[in-house]
């Protein structure tokens, strides 16, 4: 009951200028400056509303009727929002509105802009309320975080989190491939010598354990924890969570690597016979099969942003594939030796590759440009990216985790851990700070603080969902299965205006009609009464309109010109900046 009392005294006895008592949610004065900047409210508007509110209150006081008590709202108006937060939910830029737009279209566009802005703000406001914060690991002064051992971390954190660091000693059938479900609750292990086990790894409950009595190349969960695919020596098999064989798919032979596209219900497989095949698991049909003619395909990953499959090849190239095109969409020469591993981040912006030339390279996959190149003395055999952008790389029997590989040049790893036996599979657990490592001596679950996304979306992937919720989610997900034809490099392509078709149709229409129905109509001056339609006045009006048109045209050309000039200037600037860098040949210049 303390706080209301305090406020009351503050208001009644002290003059208006006195500050209200400091509250815990207000900024502490000794906090860093950049943080202050971050939470700076959106400009002006709030202040204005505050003013307006004050004015209104004063008016109310004058009436002496509506206003009840003298206390004013300490937080008037909507809660302030930081710019970054709003930016996070931005979908597209505001549409440019040409001057002579049709009034109806202008109205529609204005309204849709307003709606999207409002939704953006609301989403940002909701973002403040998210319950969980991401994990972190900080060393003391002159202590490297990479020297902190897993045991120390497991001891330092709470008990439930501590149990997430564990080793499974499975030396008999190793090395192991690893996969987590989309919710991160279930773990699938596939031993090279035929051992397949699925585990609810948080409760350590073993769901099934089988030995397929054949070599296992890869294992992958399908859309839910009820089914998984196993690429065995000859064929591709699908088992359910009790270990019962559901299908043996003879169309898919010698599969080495698999990827599951969860929103398309597609299982993409890469085989030793250089075939890339897509299986629609919802209807059980092969959607596409391509012979890549690139030899054995044992490096594969998917871009979670646009469902493009990336394949790495022994000649150092990485190729991008969609089920709609027989040829590779893109071929990139990434390494001088063969490519050992490829991975793409969640937003589809960065691709990280490692090759036999012992290099680790980061690419901007939207622009197909190299960003960073690192030299790892031992070379990385497996790569995996976490939801929050931590990169784990396996070099021999050491697992290293890097932070911010694409923004700042990295000199040392964020974390490192040595496992027994060489690493065979790496997978970050979604929504957890856990990295699963499959190696020659079994499986290790590592704690990597800051790896997982702290707040999940209950309608998309809910680790705590009940059986009923899972069933409902399954129905919904199947209903909105995206057709494989919609896979393309730009996943938002479907939302753009189809100008090409429009132009084609317009041309056809002009041809059919014999005139252009959308052509600007010739201006016919209205007849006006009271002598205002004299020949001179009519001519004047006509001239006015003609001038207006001309001005529009001139404005447009001037704008174009300005743009061109700006571009050339910038180009020149860049050139100058480049030439300012000293080259070895500069000393010969006079």
């Amino acid at each position: 009951m303390a706080s209301p009392g305090e406020e009351a005294t503050g208001d009644s006895h002290v003059g208006k200028n006195k500050k209200p008592p400091a509250r815990y949610w207000q900024e502490l004065p000794d906090k860093g400056k950049d943080e202050k900047d971050e939470e700076k409210p959106l400009p002006q508007k709030d202040q204005q509303t505050q003013k307006a509110k004050k004015r209104k209150q004063q008016e109310d006081q004058r009436d002496g009727k509506k206003f009840v008590s003298g206390k004013s709202d300490p937080f008037p108006g909507p809660a302030p929002l930081s710019k970054e937060r709003v930016q996070k939910f931005k979908r597209k830029d505001k549409a440019k509105r040409p001057r002579n737009q049709h009034f109806k279209l202008r109205d529609i566009m204005k309204r849709s802009d307003e709606a999207s802005e409002m939704s953006q703000k609301q989403a940002a406001r909701f973002d403040i309320l998210l319950p969980e914060d991401a994990g972190f690991l900080e060393g003391d002064e002159d202590e490297d975080t990479c020297t902190i051992s897993q045991e120390d971390i497991a001891e330092a954190v709470d008990i439930t989190s501590g149990t997430k660091y564990f080793n499974l000693k499975l030396s008999q059938f190793g090395p192991y491939r690893v996969d987590y479900t989309k919710t991160g609750r279930h773990l699938l292990l596939g031993g090279r010598r035929g051992h397949v086990a699925c585990i609810d790894w948080q409760s350590k409950h073993l769901m099934c354990e089988i030995n397929v009595m054949e070599s296992v190349n890869d294992v992958k969960w399908l859309h839910s924890e009820a089914m998984y695919a196993v690429a065995q020596k000859k064929w591709l098999y699908i088992y359910d969570s009790n270990g019962i064989e559901l299908h043996c798919i003879r169309k898919f032979n010698d599969v080495l690597r698999m990827q599951f596209l969860p929103y398309h219900f597609l299982l993409a497989t890469a085989s030793a016979t250089s075939f890339l095949q897509y299986l629609d698991v919802s209807v059980g049909k092969e959607v596409a099969a391509f012979c890549t003619k690139m030899g054995r395909l044992d490096v594969m990953c998917q871009n979670p942003h646009n469902a493009i499959i990336h394949l790495g090849h022994p000649n150092g190239t990485v190729t991008l594939w969609s089920p709609n095109q027989k040829e590779a969409l893109v071929k990139m020469l990434c390494h001088q030796g063969g490519v050992r591993s490829v991975t793409v981040d969640k937003t589809g912006t960065y691709m990280v590759t490692s090759g036999l030339d012992k290099k680790l390279k980061v690419y901007d996959i939207r622009a197909f440009k190299p960003l960073k190149s690192y030299f790892l003395p031992a070379g990385a055999s497996c790569l995996s990216l976490s939801q929050r952008g931590l990169l784990s790389a396996a070099t021999g029997d050491v697992v290293q985790v890097y932070r911010d590989v694409w923004s700042a040049p990295v000199t040392k790893p964020y974390m490192a851990h040595r496992v027994r036996g060489s690493v065979w599979g790496l997978h970050f657990c979604p929504f957890e700070d856990v990295l699963g490592v499959g190696h020659g001596d079994g499986f290790t679950s590592m704690l990597v603080p800051g790896a997982g996304e702290p707040n999940f979306d209950g309608l998309d992937a809910n680790p705590y969902r009940s059986a009923k919720q899972r069933q409902e989610w399954e129905v919904k997900a199947l209903l909105e299965k995206i057709q494989p034809e919609l896979i393309s490099l730009d996943p938002t392509e479907l939302g753009y205006v189809d100008r090409a078709t429009f132009e084609q149709r317009h041309q056809d229409r002009v041809q059919a009609l014999g005139y252009d129905p959308l052509a600007k109509e010739k201006f016919v001056p209205k007849y006006k009464k009271k002598g205002r339609s004299s020949a001179g006045a009519v001519e004047r009006r006509k001239k006015q309109v003609a001038h207006e048109d001309q001005r529009d045209e001139i404005r447009k050309t001037v704008e174009d010109k300005m743009k061109m000039e700006k571009e050339t200037k910038e180009r020149a600037k860049k050139k100058a900046a480049l030439s300012n860098q000293k080259s070895a040949l500069d000393r010969f210049k006079k």
Binding site: K88, R91, F136, S161, K164, Q469, T492, E493
Partner: protein
């Protein structure tokens, strides 16, 4: 060493007891929801398909008339009451919720030509082929009382239609001239003629209540002001209009149902060219009625279908037909914007949903939300070819389908000829006449 690892308390994410609803924590971060556009597109496609699956517009058929239904009138105060008059002079009052006839009266000898409920809802007027105007009480006569009109006016000529003023005790009839009547008098207080021998329909403007419009048999639509002695102006078209209806929201617009298979929406301030031409019927259009929102209207046609048009759309968004429905003579849009009533030649009145896929009855909030969301999605992706194909597809009876095709071919041929003429004549001599201008002959003031 400072360390924090994600550790969630399951109690925050799982419901406490089985009686609670499940907790669904949300995170709207776009990076957690990839393929936004494609998924929405898929949802829109599904919503469109489901809409077609659930499109069952026909609700009930009210039978009881012993001849074709010639006119209908909505009750001004009660949603569930409908009046209908048939070609044998019988008037029936219907309870729409129970789908039953509550009262029958023999009003005229010969056709009941027109019918209107007084603005207060206590009585209604009918006109018939027997040259009489009769006013009837809304309540049925008590036990033992005879069914008698409140008031009967004997006219000189046959009346073909009538409409009542919105607020005053004044009504208008049309026949050989347009008459304005005071309810208290037995002779018209004003008569309008403009060299025309007969009118087919007359309507009061719902907002500017002193204004009237009527359709005449000389292919014209005439506008009147009740306070003046002469008509205001008229527009003459290429073919005759059967009926017209004012837009209740934008009351300067009216739509007329024409014999040339089209409907024309005019702005009464500018009759030189219609504001919009609505095509799709394949036979003469007999009746038209606006929805109370003024955004849509329904039309009844001789081609045995009724169609729903947007007030600013050139083509219909919906077509209703059944195997048994014959030429549709009259049509009404109910005052709650939910139902459509059509009266046709084969003695039946049919009750339709205005929105074919709408679910009737009380909706749960989640249902409502889902419907709104789907509606928005359909709107957003309506121009995608796949979605549009499904949304626009309607099954049509064979003869209408073929007739539509035939009409299209004829129209194309006419266009081609026009184009060829233009191509082979001196530039500028053959002007381009738009579809809107084609049907207006002249405007007389």
């Amino acid at each position: 060493m400072k360390v924090k690892v994600l550790s969630r308390n399951p109690d925050d994410y799982v419901r406490e007891t089985k009686l609670d609803i499940q907790r669904v924590p949300r995170n709207y971060d776009p990076s957690l929801h990839p393929f936004e556009v494609s998924r929405e597109y898929t949802r829109a496609l599904n919503a469109t398909k489901l809409e077609r699956v659930f499109a069952k517009p026909f609700l009930a058929s009210l039978d009881g008339h012993r001849d074709g239904v010639n006119c209908m009138a909505k009750h001004t105060k009660s949603l569930s009451t409908l009046l209908s008059g048939s070609c044998d002079g019988e008037v029936k009052m219907w309870n729409l919720t129970k789908h039953e006839c509550v009262r029958t009266l023999q009003a005229h000898e010969g056709f009941v030509r027109g019918m209107v409920v007084r603005y207060c809802g206590t009585s209604f007027f009918t006109v018939g082929d027997d040259k009489t105007i009769k006013q009837w009480k809304m309540e049925a006569p008590g036990y033992g009382e005879a069914e008698e009109p409140l008031n009967t006016i004997l006219g000189k000529t046959v009346f073909t239609g009538l409409d009542h003023h919105q607020k005053e005790a004044v009504f208008a009839t049309c026949g050989q001239q347009v008459d304005i009547w005071d309810e208290q008098r037995s002779s018209p207080i004003r008569s309008f003629t403009w060299g025309v021998d007969s009118f087919s329909s007359v309507r009061f403007n719902p907002v500017e209540t002193e204004l009237l419009a009527s359709c005449a048999s000389d292919r014209s639509i005439v506008l009147y002001d009740m306070r003046e002695s002469a008509p205001l102006k008229k527009v003459i078209m290429t073919m005759r209009s059967n009926t017209l209806c004012w837009n209740p929201m934008e009351a300067y617009h009216f739509t007329c149902a024409n014999e040339d298979y089209n409907l024309y929406t005019y702005d009464m301030r500018n009759l030189d060219r219609p504001f919009m031409v609505h095509m799709d019927h394949v036979s003469a259009v007999l009746d038209v009625d606006y929805s109370p929102t003024g955004r849509e209207f329904v039309s009844a046609s001789f081609d045995k279908t009724i169609r729903i048009f947007q007030n600013d759309g050139g083509h219909s968004r919906e077509v209703y037909h059944t195997k048994r429905m014959q030429h549709v003579i009259c049509v009404k849009w109910s005052a709650d914007n939910k139902y459509i009533l059509s009266g046709s030649d084969e003695m039946n009145i049919r009750l339709w949903k205005a929105n074919a896929a709408e679910k009737l009855g009380v909706l749960a909030p989640r249902e409502k939300q889902a419907i709104n969301y789907n509606q928005k999605l359909k709107e957003k992706f309506q121009h995608h070819p796949q979605v549009r194909r499904i949304a626009h597809h309607r099954h049509l009876p064979k003869n209408i389908y073929h007739q539509t095709k035939e009409l299209r071919i004829m129209k194309e041929a006419r266009k081609r000829k026009e184009r060829n003429v233009r191509k082979h004549s001196r530039p500028g001599t053959v002007s381009v006449v738009s579809e809107k201008e084609k049907h207006v002959v002249t405007v007389v003031k």
